[in-house]
C-alpha cells in the first residue's frame, strides 16, 4: 500500500492508503504502486484513478479530476499539489456538457493567440470534467 495525498488550496481532499494510483502527468500517465522510485513531476489535467485494494476491477476504481499540479513520490507517499479537485459526487453530467460546449464556442470565436490558449485550457478542463461525469453515468455503483 502507498499513501496518496491530494492537497488543494481549499484543503486536503484525499489522504488514504491505496494499492495503485494512476496520475496524468505532462510526460504521460504514470501508475504508482508501493515502493515506487522517488519521482517528481508536473501533473497534467486529467483523471487520477485510485485503486484502493488489489481486487478492485478497473471500472470500479475511484476517479478524481485534477487540473494540473505538482507530483512528488518519496518514501512511499505520493503528494499531489493541485489547484482544485472534482470528485464523481461533485460533477453533474449536464453541467459538464454545457461548459464543454461553451468552451468550444469560445475557441471558435477566439481571434488572438491569448484567447485561443485560454479557450483551449477551458476545453481541456471541461473535457476532464466531462470524462468524470461520463464515468459516473455508466458506473453501476450507487451513491
Amino acid at each position: 500500500m502507498i499513501r496518496l495525498k491530494l492537497i488543494a488550496l481549499s484543503g486536503v481532499h484525499f489522504d488514504e492508503d491505496v494499492y495503485e494510483a494512476m496520475i496524468p502527468t505532462k510526460a504521460g500517465e504514470i501508475a504508482v504502486y508501493e515502493g515506487h522510485t522517488p519521482l517528481l513531476s508536473v501533473a497534467a489535467p486529467g483523471l487520477v484513478a485510485i485503486r484502493k485494494s488489489k481486487s478492485i476491477k478497473d471500472a470500479d476504481r475511484q476517479f478524481v479530476a485534477i487540473y494540473g499540479g505538482t507530483v512528488e513520490v518519496l518514501n512511499n507517499v505520493i503528494q499531489v499539489l493541485v489547484d482544485e479537485v472534482d470528485t464523481e459526487q461533485s460533477v453533474s453530467v449536464a453541467e459538464a456538457e454545457n461548459s464543454y460546449k461553451r468552451a468550444q464556442e469560445l475557441k471558435n470565436k477566439a481571434k488572438d493567440s491569448v484567447s485561443l490558449a485560454e479557450a483551449q485550457a477551458m476545453i481541456d478542463r471541461s473535457s476532464v470534467r466531462l470524462r468524470l461525469a461520463g464515468i459516473k453515468k455508466h458506473s453501476r455503483r450507487k451513491y
Binding site: T37, S41, T70, L81
Partner: protein, 288 residues
C-alpha cells in the same frame, strides 16, 4: 412633559442602533470563523509546497529560475490588503501605517502598489509619490483561489519583464480573536531554505525535467502565500469588526441606561409637581 417625550425618543433610537451593531457583531463573528477555517485548510498546502521546493533546492541550483534571481531594487511592488467597508476599528489604518513606515525607510526606489480592498485604493490614490498598478475590491465573502490569480499573474509578468525587482505583501495576520498583527512578507524574488540533500532523491526520476518542476512548485508557493495572506486578512478584518461592534453595542447599552435614569427622574419630577399642584389647589379651595 416635552422633556420626557424627547428622552423617550432618544432611548428608542439608541436601542435601534444597538440592535444593528449587535447584528453586525454576530455576522462578523460567523464570517470570521469561516475565514479562519479556510486559512487553516491552506496550511497543509503551504507546508507541502515549501517541503518539495526545499528538497529540490537541495539537489539542484534553483537560482537558474528567473523568479529566484535577486536584482538591485529599483521598483518595489507592494500589495496592500485592506477592507471594502469601514467600521472595523483600526484594521485599515494599521495596514496603511505600516506601508507609510516602509516607504519612509527606503525612499530611494520607486514604489508601485496593487491595492486590494476599496479602502487601500482610496488611500493609495491620494499619495502622489506612489504609482498604483492596479486595484481590486476585497474578494467577496466566499473568496476562491481563482479570485487572486489575476493579481498574481500581473505581478509575475512585471517581474519577468523586469519592470519590478521586488514584490511584497502587507497583510494582517490573525493570531487570535483579540490579537492581529500587520505583517510584511516578500514574495519575489522567491526564497527557499535549502535542505540537506535527501539521498533518495539522487536517484529520483524527474519528468519532464527538473527546471519545469521547480517552476511549477515555486508558482504554487507564491500562490499559496498570497492566498493565505488574503484569508488571514479577512479573518482579522472580521475579528476587528466584531470587537468594534461589540464596543459599540456596549456603549449603546451604557447610553440607554443613562438616558433611562434621566427619563425616570424627569417623569418622577413631573408627577411630584402635579401632586404638589393638586395638593396646593385643594388647600386653596378648603380655605375659602
Amino acid at each position: 412633559m416635552s422633556n420626557t417625550t424627547a428622552l423617550k425618543r432618544r432611548i428608542g433610537s439608541v436601542k435601534n442602533t444597538r440592535q444593528i451593531t449587535k447584528a453586525m457583531e454576530l455576522v462578523a463573528a460567523s464570517k470570521m470563523k469561516r475565514a479562519q477555517a479556510q486559512a487553516q485548510a491552506t496550511r497543509e498546502y503551504r507546508v507541502s509546497a515549501q517541503g518539495i521546493l526545499s528538497r529540490l533546492a537541495g539537489i539542484t541550483d534553483v537560482s537558474n529560475n528567473p523568479l529566484f534571481s535577486v536584482r538591485d531594487t529599483k521598483t518595489h511592488m507592494v500589495m496592500l490588503i485592506s477592507s471594502d467597508l469601514g467600521l472595523a476599528g483600526g484594521y485599515d489604518a494599521n495596514v496603511f501605517k505600516k506601508f507609510t513606515a516602509m516607504m519612509k525607510e527606503n525612499s530611494k526606489h520607486k514604489v508601485k502598489t496593487i491595492a486590494v480592498g476599496k479602502k487601500a485604493g482610496q488611500f493609495v490614490s491620494r499619495l502622489k509619490e506612489v504609482d498604483m498598478a492596479s486595484a481590486y475590491g476585497m474578494f467577496s465573502d466566499h473568496p476562491s483561489p481563482a479570485d487572486i490569480r489575476p493579481a498574481i499573474t500581473d505581478i509575475l509578468k512585471r517581474y519577468e519583464e523586469g519592470s519590478i525587482d521586488k514584490a511584497s505583501i502587507i497583510y494582517t495576520e490573525f493570531i487570535s480573536n483579540l490579537t492581529q498583527e500587520v505583517r510584511v512578507i516578500d514574495l519575489l524574488p522567491a526564497k527557499v531554505e535549502k535542505q540537506e540533500k535527501v539521498s533518495e532523491l539522487e536517484v529520483a526520476i524527474f519528468e519532464p525535467n527538473i527546471d519545469e518542476i521547480v517552476e511549477d512548485a515555486v508558482l504554487r508557493l507564491i500562490e499559496v502565500q498570497v492566498w493565505q495572506a488574503v484569508l488571514e486578512s479577512l479573518a482579522s478584518e472580521y475579528s476587528m469588526r466584531m470587537v468594534a461592534m461589540k464596543n459599540a453595542s456596549d456603549n449603546a447599552k451604557d447610553i440607554i441606561d443613562d438616558l433611562t435614569l434621566e427619563y425616570n427622574t424627569a417623569r418622577q419630577s413631573v408627577i411630584t409637581q402635579e401632586i404638589a399642584e393638586i395638593v396646593g389647589g385643594a388647600e386653596a379651595v378648603s380655605q375659602l
